[in-house]
């Protein structure tokens, strides 16, 4: 499947990654090559094969629904690029 620059722009928008116009052209070629190569999987008949969900057969463990950690607001905020009092600061979202 060939990917054009509009498709690159659309995926980049979905992924929230700014991609310059020049990069869009380069990426269109690279992604087309990679996706073209990936498409060889189409040769395989996978009818009736279960998609893998877990590589090692394990039952997910359960634990009592109790608080085991917390009270670390300051530690959570400490790595934020901008934080004030008890909040992360972001550009204005609601007018």
């Amino acid at each position: 499947m060939a990917v054009d620059r509009d498709t690159v722009a659309a995926i980049a928008r979905l992924a929230r990654i700014r991609v310059s116009a020049e990069q869009q052209d380069a990426l269109a070629g690279e992604l087309s090559n990679i996706l073209g190569w990936i498409e060889q999987l189409g040769e395989l008949d996978t009818e009736g094969v279960e998609p893998m969900t877990s590589v090692v057969a394990v039952e997910l463990p359960l634990r009592p629904d109790e608080v085991t950690d917390g009270g670390k607001r300051d530690q959570v905020l400490v790595n934020g690029p901008e934080a004030t009092e008890a909040f992360f600061v972001v550009p204005k979202v609601v007018e």
Binding site: I11, A15, I17, F88
Partner: protein, 490 residues
């Protein structure tokens, strides 16, 4: 190279236990060694003061009779493991200034066993790469050179800094992580041992996530015994990682009996690639002969879906990466680039903070997960992954371990293959199948290429049968008697 830095991990342990050196002396020797190999760019953050403090604490523990299994042994930590109070970058610009307020379970296990941290090792950005060229902190140079050719070579990747430091004798051992070959391939390129354990053997908690269904931590060391020792310290059940498996951690060194008589070793015909250098095939045949001489039974086997492993991996891993890397948004940690509104801030931050290979993979992942393509790509890949696992399940009815080359070529000069992602992906053609199947795999140095560079052999085992893999690897290690040293030594 001083006497103390030329030791193996287990040898150094024995030396400390016998009172012939102190953890402080051993650590000082390695701190000095690190300074001499700085031109390799193998460390992102050196932590000499912390190392010496940990070493002094270790000597006190030993004096009090409370030494752990790795007490006083200085190691490098791949910069993908969160370390409390120490910058953790994942080789990415987007994690600028991130100082974790918590410790990853695996690194915590190592400190509990008494190990000493020398610093945080350079790596491909978010562990995406096979050359260590994608690091925001610059490429790592391998301590190896082609004789008569001074061009710097790649150490492999993504655990390239870890492998270079261990090969150059600047760390006794190092941690790595392996998603599609990121421990085994750099180990092969640098002439050391690299072990990827079974998926679930080591906790992933606190390890910066790349592809969660594949990522697994493991040791890079200079011998099979050292790998056995270090895995024991790293492994174990962790309630904080629901995919870590609750089964006892054996003393892996006990498995190193030197006896492989009657062991059935599978040779998969699909690992013979068109255009593969003849020396890779020759090395493989040599490995077969060594095991046969040691009394193992060699069986030709088929893993029929091998050819499809790499394209499957390049759907599954980017899909998971695109999801995992959504957390880097300029809000909670790391880099922020300003934008007029929230979406622009996200786009600017991620556009600036991610390197070219990471962007490529996040975009591929976003594409294969997007509406209309999810079934055709992602679900298809998950189905093929089941077929690849089934191949191994069938094979392991007949054999106890599988022997293959680790990589289809030796180390290449820094800068090569960067303009062709598909050529770069081929580095992992022999390591990706075991990753997709979650199986343990080890690479050990088995000979030199025509270029005078290390080549590795890989052994793959049944799930949670690291012991057979290690036992067989140690027999091969003795037969190969690999003792070549890189020209750059601390």
């Amino acid at each position: 190279m001083s006497e103390l830095t030329s030791l193996g991990l287990a040898e150094a342990r024995d030396l400390l236990a016998d009172g012939k050196a102190t953890a402080k002396e051993l650590t000082e020797a390695h701190v000095a060694a690190l300074e001499t190999v700085r031109p390799l760019n193998a460390m992102i953050t050196e932590t000499p003061e912390l190392a010496l403090a940990m070493a002094e604490a270790s000597d006190k523990r030993r004096a009090a009779g409370a030494a752990g299994i790795m007490d006083g042994l200085p190691i490098a930590m791949k910069d993908l493991f969160c370390t409390e109070g120490v910058l953790t970058t994942a080789g990415s610009h987007i994690l600028d200034g991130f100082i974790p307020p918590y410790e990853s379970t695996v690194s915590g296990n190592l400190w509990k066993a008494g190990a000493v941290m020398l610093g945080k090792a350079n790596m491909d950005e978010f562990a995406m790469g096979s050359s260590n060229m994608t690091s925001y902190y610059g490429p790592v140079e391998s301590p190896w050179r082609r004789p008569g050719d001074n061009r710097p070579l790649v150490p492999g990747g993504s655990s390239g800094g870890s492998a270079a430091l261990v090969a150059a004798r600047a760390a006794l051992a190092a941690t790595g992580t392996d998603t599609g070959g990121s421990i085994r391939q750099p180990a092969a390129f640098c002439g050391i041992v690299g072990l990827k354990p079974t998926y679930g053997r080591c906790s992933r908690w606190g390890v910066v996530a790349f592809a969660s269904s594949l990522d697994q931590a493991g040791p890079l060391t200079r011998s099979v015994r050292d790998a056995a020792l270090m895995l024991r310290a790293m492994a174990g059940y962790d309630p904080k990682d629901s995919t870590s498996v609750d089964r006892p951690v054996p003393d892996y060194e006990q498995a190193l009996t030197g006896d492989v008589r009657g062991l059935k070793v599978g040779i998969p015909k699909e690992y013979r690639l068109d255009g593969m250098p003849p020396e890779i095939e020759t090395l493989w045949q040599q490995g077969i002969a060594w095991l046969k001489d040691a009394g193992a039974e060699i069986r030709d086997i088929s893993l029929p879906h091998t050819h499809y492993a790499l394209p499957t991996y390049y759907i599954v891993a980017p899909a998971e990466a695109s999801s995992n890397l959504a957390r880097y948004d300029g809000v909670k940690f790391g880099l922020r680039e300003e934008g007029a509104d929230l979406t622009e801030m996200y786009e600017a931050t991620r556009g600036e903070g991610f390197g070219a290979e990471v962007k490529r993979r996040v975009l591929i992942g976003t594409y294969v997960l997007s509406a209309g393509y999810y079934d055709a790509y992602y679900n298809k890949a998950r189905r093929v992954r089941t077929l690849i696992l089934n191949d191994f399940v069938e094979a392991f009815r007949e054999v106890d371990t599988v022997l293959t080359p680790t990589a289809p070529f030796d180390a290449f000069p820094i800068g090569e293959k960067m303009d062709d992602p598909l050529a770069m992906y081929l580095n992992d053609v022999f390591t990706v199948p075991a990753s997709l199947a979650g199986l343990p795999g080890i690479s050990l140095p088995a000979g030199l290429s025509g270029n005078g560079l290390p080549l590795g052999l890989q052994l793959i085992g049944r799930a949670f049968d690291e012991e057979t893999v290690l036992r067989t690897a140690e027999v091969l290690e003795r037969a190969a008697a690999f003792d070549a040293l890189p020209p750059v030594l601390a």
